[in-house]
């Protein structure tokens, strides 16, 4: 199966892939054995892929995080959770398909899983609004989180959004209030909360699912207060300076660890989570099981107190 190398820095990989396909076609057509040559090229491809993916720039990581074939929340829900029952609606306005959630089992334990959901194609993206939720999406998420707390189940949130949707209806229905409420309530929910940035962690719209006891990031995910394009537009009036902005914003998983804002990095297969979604899923599953098990041992009141203390310590200032 050919992998579509869609990103600009993957061009050498796409070229090797093309050569392999070509060889294979010629071999088939003429009935000659080209396995040796193909093997050599495939080795070369794997080495090159490793080289490229081991030294991604911040902007390249943003591109991988946004990759159209990257696994999304529903993919992980079907690959590493069982017994998933999706629950819909905020009970106030409508169901927002940009956020999905419901009961599921992780290693036999009932958990509440909530995550942003992007679409795979244009049609689905229109439905999912490219993973940009309206207030009702955040209100549904809070409703489900409160239900989880009531029934003593851990909450797992999967973060993958460019940001909360900036539109007329979203503003009318109180996007600010919805985000502010989730952030406040999550800080005090008396049940374990684990958040994982699986792709794009876009600003307040990400944080509104991301106040947690443990925050994990996939190796090629990003978490930022503003998109590199938005930052470049504001600072230099030029969205094409996004590389410079991505460097400056310190938005990679390594950066966030260094800043003390996330707890753990989940590795990805070489070539990114989209290159081998099953392997990515296994890494995620292992990290979640370990983390949830640790949190299960802590009394809820203690979890909440620790969570408050953890956020109270985030910041960089001098107290002269």
């Amino acid at each position: 199966m050919a992998i579509a190398y869609a990103l600009d820095f993957e061009k050498p990989l796409a070229e090797l892939e093309r050569q392999i396909e070509e060889l294979r076609r010629i071999g088939d057509e003429r009935g000659i054995d080209v396995n040796g040559e193909i093997g050599t090229l495939e080795d070369k491809l794997a080495i090159r892929r490793g080289e490229i993916y081991r030294s991604l720039t911040p902007m390249q990581r943003v591109q991988v995080a946004r990759h159209p074939r990257r696994p999304y929340t529903l993919d992980y829900l079907s690959s590493i959770f069982t017994d998933f029952i999706e629950l819909h609606g905020d009970r106030l306005f409508r169901d927002d398909p940009a956020i999905v959630g419901g009961w599921a089992r992780l290693n036999r334990q009932s958990v509440m899983v909530i995550g942003h959901q992007k679409g795979r194609d244009t049609k689905e993206n229109i439905k999912r609004n490219f993973g940009m939720a309206h207030p009702e999406g955040y209100r549904k998420a809070l409703r489900l989180m409160q239900a989880a707390t009531r029934f003593h189940a851990p909450i797992i949130t999967l973060i993958d959004t460019p940001g909360a949707y900036p539109g007329l209806g979203a503003e009318e229905r109180g996007q600010s209030e919805a985000l502010a409420r989730n952030i406040l309530e999550m800080s005090a929910l008396a049940t374990p909360i684990v958040s994982v940035v699986i792709g794009e962690g876009g600003s307040g719209g990400a944080l509104a699912l991301g106040v947690a006891d443990r925050v994990l990031m996939f190796e090629n995910s990003v978490y930022s207060v503003i998109s590199p394009e938005g930052c470049a537009t504001i600072l230099w009036k030029d969205a094409t300076q996004r590389e410079r902005a991505a460097d400056a914003l310190k938005l990679t998983a390594d950066d966030l660890i260094r800043l003390g804002l996330v707890d753990e990095i989940i590795p990805e297969p070489l070539g990114g989570a989209h290159f081998d979604p099953d392997a990515a899923g296994e890494f995620l599953r292992a990290a979640l099981i370990k983390t949830v098990n640790e949190l299960n041992k802590v009394r809820p009141e203690k979890l909440v107190r620790r969570r408050h203390d953890k956020y109270a310590a985030m910041g960089s200032y001098a107290d002269a």
Binding site: A164, Y165, P166, G167, L168, A170, E171, E172, R173, G174, Q175, S176, E177, L179, A180, R181, I183, L184, E185, S187, A188, S203, G204, L207, A208, G210, V211, Y223, S224, V225, I226, G230, C231, I234, L235, A248, L249, K250, L251, D255, L256, L259, L261, R307, H308, Y311, A312, M314, G315, S316, Y317, A318, D319, A320
Partner: protein, 292 residues
Amino acid sequence: MAVMAWFKKERKPRTAPRERLEIPADAWEKCESCGHVDIREKFQKALNVCPECNTHKRFSAEEYVELLTDEGSWRELYADLKSGDPLHFEHYADRLIAAQKKTGASDAIYTGIAKLDARPLHLGVMNFRFMGGSMGSVVGEKIARLARRSADKRIPMVIVCTSGGARMQEGALSLMQMAKTSSAISLMKQAAVPYISILTDPTTGGVSASFAMQGDVILAEPGAVIGFAGQRVIKQTIGQDLPEGFQTAEFLLEKGQIDDVVPRASLRETTSRLLQHMRGAKIKTTAPEAAA
């Protein structure tokens, strides 16, 4: 004692000087909304609200402190907190120094303890002149400390908000200040200590999506622009012009997003009365008013 120099400086009485025959050109002020021209003193006496069209022009952070506290009662807290440059973000260090010079403030919020109608109050006032009132680590830390102090000492908190949002130059650290402030305010909710947030022009982004929208009561000044997304971004996203009055305080009131729109001249009294309700304290009985 942490009484600020600006505080003493601002203590001048708000009375107009004797009328002079010659009024110097720079003593006049023009309202940008309706074109009304008046003596600057008159604008000042009206708390920088146009006497003709009621447009609420910007009011300084120092002036809000004066407006919302009993004279001489204000004591600034956490004044020494200074921002770092954790990302070594280009020009951030210089911009901080420039903003400190320009405003005389250490960062984009004053926090302190004061009295309002003889009752203790924790007050935070954001300063739009300091990097657009953006929230970085210092703003987050000051609000979080003030809120925790409120919960501990059972002193109500009022925050006058104005901000373009999170401070980009601090990256994800500034984003996390939304969680930090919210977590501290949740402690106040648990302790049932009242918090009033007052939204002034403009209040957007990470500030509106955190403590600004978490008040037990949320008030806004007339005409203030309040919202999550900036208008330029929304226009770009939806590809059409925004309706008249979109994201104004009046719009938010109509949509059920805030408790009331309160003119600047009534802010002090409204805040004081609300706090008395939420404290459960009795309003002092006053002698019946004489018929006018």
